[in-house]
Symmetry: C2
Subunit: 203 residues, 2 copies
Amino acid sequence: MNDKFFKLPLEKQRRIINAAYKVFSENSYKKAPMSEIADESGISKALLFHYFTNKKELYMYLWMNAIEMTRKAVTEYKTLETDDFFEMLKRSLLSKCSLMRDYPHLYAFSLRAYYETAPEIHKSIQENFNDVSKASEMIVFEKIEISNFRKDIELKTMYDEIFYAVDGYMLKKYRSNCIIPDEIEKEIIVLIDFWKKVYTQEV
Amino acid sequence: MNDKFFKLPLEKQRRIINAAYKVFSENSYKKAPMSEIADESGISKALLFHYFTNKKELYMYLWMNAIEMTRKAVTEYKTLETDDFFEMLKRSLLSKCSLMRDYPHLYAFSLRAYYETAPEIHKSIQENFNDVSKASEMIVFEKIEISNFRKDIELKTMYDEIFYAVDGYMLKKYRSNCIIPDEIEKEIIVLIDFWKKVYTQEV
DNA sequence: TCCTTATTGACCGTAACGGTTAATGCAAGT
DNA sequence: ACTTGCATTAACCGTTACGGTCAATAAGGA
């Protein structure tokens, strides 16, 4: 990894990183070509290899960057500083929307990276991830105030269901190539309001 | 397309088709290699090309087969012969589970094929699909009895949300390489019961 | 002008691709 | 045992794509 990369204008850094996120989110590690990343970011392949010594290094940088940016966004939105489940959910998802404005394909990349099977990558990733994800689920269930929920539903099922839906929703957006943060933000809010009504309001 | 393919033992046909569904569901059309399909199904690449004259033909056969099999399964489960939304949903999803027993990756293939961008493929697919999908959504909303639902929720949002969740659920199963029809069937039923309770029962 | 740095076109060796073909194996019929 | 006919494949072909390198060029500042 060449330090000169960080001395580039920020916008150019973003262009390169986003091209990489895009290509790696659309293909498996093995079938994601460096040349495609270079083309997509408007620089030559040689220059890309000038900044990142090889493919794996670029990939691992993206992975670390994704974790770090996500963590930062979650913190900025004070995601964990509430005991209202739906408020927390909203902050969590809106923080990801804000991230999406700078890095449209980071979310899709993260979703895919965790299941990457290429042996060179696999190990380094999974270790790193289990910490983050498992921990966050536990924190949620420790912190939230559950007395507001309908008494007749299984909270774990609700939790799973909501995250299935979020992933399914994002999947559709990515597949149809429709990453418009403003629109997604609105639709996400509609969904959250819907969930809140359904899961708390006792008609 | 060589007629001899259909004279093969059914199990061998399935092995080939499933290998193809798998490889095409994991990669974009362009990056899905025929050699990988051959290896996965335990036959030589030459033989694969003996049955299917070229890659596109194989892909289009898979697509047509997916549509036909899905239609058949939906019919067998009498999916549309009820006006209860959740019963219809259950039949629809269980029919897909049964399909999954014979063709584990057909679902993932269909999900991806619709958004395939390779120009040779794109056109032939989309035409064919709009009929099926749009029509089915309309049929559902015409047929179902809506008086049982909670009055305070937006049915379209509910409908979308459910299908996001199903896709997200299946995505996770595929990504983690966990296609176990029995298990999926059970979990799907849990989800449907959950939805039914939440969306109809006025606590 | 010169020097330094940013950037690239062209290149390398290798591997993978879609698709073909000539040669095998192999079973049934004589 | 020999032949016929089909199922199956190893080996091959021409082309493209890949990760990665390097010498050459462009750009910018002193």
